[in-house]
């Protein structure tokens, strides 16, 4: 892992006169799955959008692999909670959309990549289905496949499983970790769900209530290891870490109140 792959240099954001993100310095390693955790509305999504180049910092700057981030590009792909796939395109066409504006791939290569990512997310049988005909969990898998097919090195995921039922959500968490490790991608995942954060993360960055300030940086891999079978949730280390993070976030929320 390259330790300084994604770096935040004194990044701050203010909307009008309202500070949303306080001066943040942070370094994220290549191929890490980092979860931004914090109370709702704390500014973690704003921080992630700045990584995507969709918002600009009021102060400071962000670098990806030594290059300054100043606009959106396909190296950093977004997966949203809602409207994650285009309803007028089939599953396969949605995945192909990730490569639509790439001139460096031939049509045959694009087709091959679509097949590969359909298979990776287990949607080969639904290639010709429209998003309205598949479940919410499948739609999120389409969005992940599209981002991977685009060739994104960093996946920016804004509460992507927030609207799903508990069991689908759990299964997608397992799948996301497996895909992330297999495809060697850096993931920045925003959530306010503590259990999801502990299960998914290599590292949790815990933010305060608005304006977002880093209050804890937790190395989850050091505590739980890299392997995350579903039943890890029933183990003592998972339970303890979850309680520790919960305690921190409760403390943070009560301080803000």
């Amino acid at each position: 892992m390259t330790a300084d792959y994604l770096r935040f240099y004194g990044v701050a954001k203010t909307f009008g006169t309202v500070p949303v993100v306080r001066r943040t310095d942070l370094s994220i390693a290549r191929d890490a799955l980092v979860v931004f955790l914090g109370p709702s509305g704390c500014g973690k999504t704003t921080l992630m959008r700045m990584v995507g180049g969709l918002d600009s910092p009021t102060e400071g700057w962000i670098e990806l692999d030594g290059g300054r981030v100043d606009r959106p590009d396909r190296r950093r792909g977004m997966v949203f909670q809602s409207y994650s796939s285009f309803p007028w395109l089939t599953v396969a066409q949605n995945i192909a959309f990730g490569m639509r504006y790439r001139d460096d791939l031939t049509a045959a290569e694009k087709q091959e990549r679509v097949r590969h990512y359909l298979d990776l997310v287990g949607l080969t049988d639904f290639a010709d289905s429209y998003p309205s005909r598949i479940s919410g969990g499948m739609r999120q898998r389409v969005a992940i496949a599209r981002t991977l097919a685009a060739g994104s090195e960093v996946l920016l995921m804004d509460e992507p499983f927030g609207a799903l039922d508990a069991l689908t959500r759990e299964r997608l968490q397992v799948q996301l970790r497996s895909i992330q490790k297999r495809e060697a991608k850096t993931v920045v995942f925003v959530t306010h769900d503590v259990e999801e954060a502990v299960f998914l993360a290599d590292r949790i960055i815990l933010f305060s209530a608005r304006p977002a300030t880093i209050v804890a940086d937790i190395d989850v891999t050091a505590e739980l290891g890299a392997e995350r079978p579903l039943d890890i949730r029933e183990t003592r280390p998972f339970f303890d870490l979850r309680n520790h993070v919960l305690h921190l976030i409760r403390h943070e929320t009560s301080e803000a109140a």
Binding site: P72, Y83, S135, R171, L172
Partner: protein
């Protein structure tokens, strides 16, 4: 990767096999349930039956002499007038003239309103400059502008098309702007992160996303265009359904007036159904 909790949704319209009588009972039951669902065939049947009941009551009321025929002629009298107008008074020609005027004005309004509405929503400078003016003109009654339009364009075709355009364009442009505004920003942002430029965002994302509501709004404003037809065709006209209705009114030929109105209604109904069909064909994914 798929599993029990993450399954595709059942396809719409596909139901488990069941007996014919049970299907009919379910469809009929759906008619009376709050937000119930029925079959299209049953719904068409209900529509035809309701229309037949209204026409039957109307015919009975006229024949019984409850309403004077010069105020409300019977459906059979209207049908008779329609036959005479078609066979002896070139109603087909007048329908063609009116349809031509309505479509010319409507297409002109659409061709202008779609790009302007999109620009109004996409660029604040265009929205800020145009929206107050359009809002002002939108509330002006079209009949009040008839004298002005005659001064500007004379009494020819241009005036008629201008009046129809006037009744459509200013409404449509705001509807298009609203359609554009409702394109989810997530779609735009996803497209930007995969490298789409502004032109590609417009064609590949915004227009595709707003397509269904845009066609709906075009359908609605085409209906409004027909409602302005009478106003447009009483201005020194010598052809068109509006002219026919207006002439019949002068001689108190109420069945002919009614027949003209019915023709407009039928054209509206057929056009609307055709546009709905187009909607279903274009937007199968909905």
């Amino acid at each position: 990767m798929s599993g029990a909790m993450d399954e595709p949704l059942p396809e719409r319209g596909k139901r488990p096999a069941q007996g014919r009588s049970k299907t009919l009972r379910t469809a009929l039951g759906g008619l009376f349930a709050f937000r119930g669902r029925s079959s299209p065939t049953v719904e068409v049947g209900v529509s035809v039956l309701a229309a037949a009941i209204v026409l039957g009551l109307w015919e009975a009321a006229s024949r019984a002499g409850w309403i004077a025929p010069q105020f409300l002629p019977s459906p059979s009298a209207v049908l008779g007038a329609l036959w005479t107008m078609t066979t002896e008074q070139s109603l087909g020609y007048h329908i063609a003239v009116s349809t031509g005027r309505v479509w010319a004005a409507f297409l002109l309004a659409a061709a202008m309103a779609i790009p302007i509405g999109i620009l109004m929503s996409s660029y604040r400078i265009v929205g800020a400059a145009l929206e107050p003016m359009i809002d002002f003109i939108r509330y002006l009654p079209v009949p009040a502008l008839v004298p002005l339009s005659i001064i500007w364009f004379g009494v020819g075709e241009t005036t008629k098309i201008f009046l129809l355009w006037l009744g459509t364009f200013f409404q449509l442009v705001l509807l298009v702007a609203d359609d554009m505004r409702r394109v989810p920003h997530e779609y735009v942002e996803v497209a930007r992160t995969v490298g789409a430029n502004s032109r590609q965002l417009m064609w590949d994302v915004a227009l595709r996303s707003m397509g269904p509501t845009l066609l709906d709004n075009l359908r609605i404003t085409l209906g409004w265009c027909w409602t302005y037809l009478i106003i447009a065709e009483i201005v020194a006209a010598s052809s068109g359904i509006g002219y026919v209705i207006w002439q019949a009114r002068r001689f108190v030929k109420t069945p002919e007036v009614m027949a003209g109105v019915v023709v407009i209604g039928l054209i509206g109904l057929v056009t609307d159904q055709l546009l709905r069909l187009l909607h279903r064909r274009f937007f199968r994914y909905l």
